[in-house]
């Protein structure tokens, strides 16, 4: 049930969103059409599809078929499937909106239905990597155009006129010569009999005729349900006869259960059963960690029962993981040569000959995702069939893993995707759904596995911990002539393969080997780092430490040379140009480089735009400071200015944040603004508080008291978002993640401006109070 708000009533949010009317050269000049999608292989007109994306290379590629995604009822109701997971980005609204736009459907007559996990049918469903709009803008337009064409053909046949004489307009097909009209509903049956037109012959709408795309006047489809408590998240699924489970997991990742005593737990009112849960050996990929489950009639009883369990664990290979000692190891590694992953010129010699060398060694600890909805899943396994209800970012992957874990065919597994109460990468890993499947199989009943917040903090797939060390060599004029960046951090690959000690290509490509500064001598190194806990994707991934180090170093260079931060930054970015990839086969967020090159003109543009709109250089009161940072990630360009105020006790407030984003062609500027506003909060959280530490292999934090996040009373007073209007044909790029990386370095540059203190170690904590 979806209730769509009257767009004219949406007000209050517009004032902080400003779409800039600036012209920018097209980056697409001269690009040919070479690619295709896996299943449907559309080749569109040059104007409509002048770029190629990496969508076809994702598992199961793209499916372009209106019969799969669109249903039209005789009453005119159009149902559009959302095949990506909604975790707050607005994708459950934006992708169906694209279909409705091209189809000429009236959005008030559209219902959105969530697709279950089936990548053969729907194409890739991994909702991660800030890819949904990027990969689906054109396919969704094609699906809508197909449906529109079928409706037009059906009407033309009914009237006995050529199809070229009729036109779909806002839920009707019109024959203007005779003034005849037929509603979509009246054409439903006939249109369904039409054959699906070939993708290559489809005519897409002229963007100037768009009613919804790029306008930002449509509320999210779940808005009414969310505000009335009807929206259904993973935890809200209830089945007849369903049991409630919580699990005690090994306190050290890779540990095992030695023994347990269930007696006291079984005496807790409401507790029905205590049972072992299968665990997998380290590194365990997305498989469950194992442990002991308490089964009860409600979650409260299960939690109380778990508290009463007596458990003995074998801590296994990671029992000595200690964050204080590990930090020293990373720092030591960063001070010695490591695996060279990028080499231009001779950085060693240039550093030796430099007039001045500035060294910055930056530390960024592990982070937990702490989405507001802790992991949770419901499973109902009967014989060789399994049905799952879960807030998963990867419904297709979940289906595969459930099938493998239970040893049943994938066709026998149904994964129903609920709303996600936040994801941020955590819910790309389906361990919680696998736990529910295993328990349901053993119990012979539907079961809900609920993680508590303590479970979530202690058993996350954490953001990595890293030391980033940059040495910048300057000549007499203050020009940077040498740059050496050593990045040391346990890799996500370690979650999948024992002994993976170096960054994977996708991690190298997030702010290290793609670093765009115009410097003659550059060396990037990646010394070894072993992992002792599960490392995973966290919103914007390796871009967080890399952007922090690079953009903090820009501030350090500005300070050392007595120059303006913004001017220093623009000088380092250098001339407007398409950067030639510094390494062979550079990972480019899975996108073809021709469509999505590193374009320093766009990078400079967001810096200049945010500086202009954010009033860079304005006079600020005593104790205040301005900081700026820019970063390209997920093939988008984004720059942030933070104004900070630090009082005489070292207490920090953020009066104003300004951010400019160039994300190419976009669908919903209102949701872009909300993502960027939220990214500032997440950036401030990680900069001020974010830190997970280990002692004796165990996570030392447990809940929001010791893993703090920003609350409303410390959030920025104002966050302004400026969206660069795309040149015609500019491919869409990421929005969900890119807002995070520039925030923390902009904040630290601002703190330096305000106080003269350079913060190189996150989180900030009490460093200003010392």
């Amino acid at each position: 049930m979806n209730f769509i708000e009257n767009p004219t009533k949406l007000r209050g949010f517009e004032k902080n969103i400003k779409v800039e009317k600036v012209s920018r050269r097209s980056i697409l000049k001269g690009l040919g059409i070479t690619g295709g999608f896996v299943l449907a292989a559309p080749v569109m007109s040059r104007q409509a599809l002048a770029y190629e994306t990496g969508a076809g290379k994702m598992p199961h590629g793209v499916v372009i078929d209106p019969r799969v995604f669109v249903a039209l009822a005789p009453d005119g109701t159009v149902t559009i499937l959302a095949h990506r997971s909604e975790m707050g980005t607005g994708v459950r609204t934006s992708l169906p909106l694209i279909v409705a736009e091209e189809m000429e459907a009236d959005w008030s007559k559209v219902k959105v239905q969530q697709a279950h996990g089936d990548e053969v049918k729907f194409g890739n469903q991994d909702t991660d990597g800030s890819r949904s709009t990027r990969h689906y803008l054109i396919p969704m337009r094609q699906i809508g155009a197909s449906a529109r064409t079928m409706l037009e053909q059906a009407a033309a046949k009914r009237w006995g006129v050529p199809a070229t004489e009729v036109k779909a307009v806002n839920h009707e097909v019109v024959h203007s010569a005779s003034g005849r009209k037929l509603g979509f509903g009246e054409l439903a049956e006939d249109a369904a009999k039409e054959s699906v037109p070939a993708v290559e012959g489809l005519k897409l709408k002229d963007p100037k005729d768009f009613r919804y795309l790029g306008k930002g006047q449509v509320g999210i489809v779940d808005l009414h349900d969310i505000t009335t408590g009807k929206a259904r998240y993973g935890a809200d699924v209830r089945l007849p006869g369903m049991k409630y489970a919580v699990i005690a997991r090994p306190p050290v990742t890779g540990g095992k259960l030695t023994s347990f005593d269930p007696d006291a737990a079984l005496k807790v009112p409401g507790v029905e059963k205590v049972m072992k849960v299968q665990g997998w050996p380290w590194p365990s990929k997305f498989q469950p960690l194992g442990g002991v489950a308490v089964i009860a009639r409600n979650t409260g009883a299960a939690i109380k029962g778990r508290d009463a369990l007596k458990l003995v664990w074998d801590d296994g290979p990671n029992g000595k993981y200690d964050s204080v000692a590990y930090r020293k190891e990373l720092e030591d590694a960063s001070r010695k040569p490591g695996l060279v992953v990028r080499q231009e010129g001779d950085a060693d010699a240039a550093l030796k000959s430099a007039d001045k060398v500035i060294v910055g060694e930056y530390y960024l600890p592990h982070l937990a995702h702490v989405s507001m909805e802790p992991p949770v899943a419901v499973a109902d396994v009967k014989g060789d069939k399994a049905e799952i209800w879960a807030p998963v970012q990867s419904p297709g992957g979940t289906r595969e893993d459930v099938a493998k874990t239970l040893g049943i065919p994938e066709d026998n597994v149904t994964v129903n995707v609920t709303l996600l109460g936040g994801g941020f990468g955590r819910k790309s890993k389906c361990d919680f759904a696998l736990e529910a499947a295993l328990l349901s199989k053993e119990l012979g009943a539907p079961v809900k596995v609920q993680w508590t917040r303590e479970d979530d903090v202690r058993h996350d797939f954490l953001h990595t911990v890293s030391v980033e060390r940059i040495e910048a060599g300057l000549d007499k004029s203050g020009k940077v002539i040498a740059w050496r960046h050593r990045s040391v951090a346990p890799t996500i690959a370690s979650t999948f393969a024992a002994g993976a000690n170096h960054a994977a290509p996708f991690e190298l490509g997030m702010g290290l080997v793609d670093m765009p500064f115009e410097i003659a001598n550059i060396s990037c190194e990646n010394p070894e780092a072993a992992a002792f806990t599960r490392i995973g994707w966290f919103r914007s991934v390796s871009n967080i430490p890399r952007a922090f180090a690079v953009q903090s170093m820009v501030g350090e260079i500005a300070a050392a040379t007595g120059r303006d931060q913004k001017e220093t930054l623009l000088a380092l970015i250098g001339s407007p140009r398409i950067v030639k990839p510094a390494v062979k086969d550079m990972w480019n967020y899975g996108e073809p480089y021709d469509s999505y090159p590193i374009d320093t003109a766009r990078l400079r543009k967001v810096v200049e735009l945010v500086a202009e709109k954010g009033e860079w250089g304005r006079q600020v009161p005593k104790g205040h400071g301005l900081g700026i940072a820019v970063h390209r990630s997920f093939v988008s360009y984004i720059a942030t200015i933070v104004e900070v105020a630090v009082d005489d006790k070292g207490k920090l407030t953020v009066p104003r944040v300004d951010t400019a984003i160039d994300c190419g062609t976009y669908v919903n500027p209102e949701r872009i603004a909300s993502q960027i506003e939220g990214a500032a909060i997440m950036g401030l959280s990680l900069a001020k508080y974010g830190e997970i530490t280990f002692k004796d292999g165990k996570v030392e934090q447990k809940n929001f008291d010791d893993f703090q996040v920003i609350r409303i009373d410390e959030s920025p007073a104002v966050t302004n978002v400026y969206i660069v209007p795309p040149a015609p044909g500019t491919p869409p790029s990421g929005v969900g993640e890119p807002g995070v990386p520039p925030f923390a370095p902009a904040l630290m540059n601002a703190i330096f401006a305000a106080t003269g203190k350079r913060i190189r170690s996150l989180p900030l904590g009490k460093q200003l109070e010392a």
């Binding site: 997440m682 809940n703 409303i712």
Partner: protein, 150 residues
């Protein structure tokens, strides 16, 4: 047997009297609009109104509310048109939406107590409710809008 009025309806419970109200609401009464976020009164996702006060249902037992009136998000307004709910929609507050029931209940309780809160008072009253997506600017604007007429 504990009796409690939830959204105007009498309910009874003869299980563990210490059961947190949150789990009674969600798992026993089937009112899943109230969310579990932390279990320790740290995040406010489970906020409900008891009589006229916002409480964290995760640390409030069923026994604590015996004979009292509990209002959850489902019972805030019959059509979901409480001024706070309307303001939330006009400002397009939510991202993932998971914390919003708790935020809305907290805001509704604030306005019962202080119909015209200042921005500082809004920030103070709402500071027990975490939004990991970071919708705070809009939350502040929506509470202000609800207090000035939607």
């Amino acid at each position: 047997m504990i009796k409690v009025k939830i959204n105007g309806q009498e309910q009874s419970w003869d299980g563990d009297p210490d059961l947190p109200l949150l789990w009674f609401l969600r798992d026993e009464a089937g009112l899943t609009g109230t969310k579990f976020g932390c279990g320790q009164a740290l995040c406010g996702a489970c906020t409900v109104i008891v009589d006229k006060e916002a409480v964290r249902s995760c640390i409030t037992s069923v026994n604590d509310v015996a004979g009292r009136e509990v209002t959850t998000i489902e019972g805030l307004h019959p059509n979901g048109d409480h001024p706070v709910q309307k303001a939330w929609r006009q400002v397009n507050v939510p991202q993932c939406g998971f914390c919003q029931a708790g935020q809305i209940m907290q805001a509704a309780a604030l306005l019962m107590d202080n119909p015209k809160p200042s921005h500082d008072q809004i920030r103070e009253a709402m500071s027990g409710n975490i939004c990991r997506c970071g919708c705070y600017q809009r939350i502040e604007n929506a509470v202000h809008l609800a207090s000035t007429g939607v």
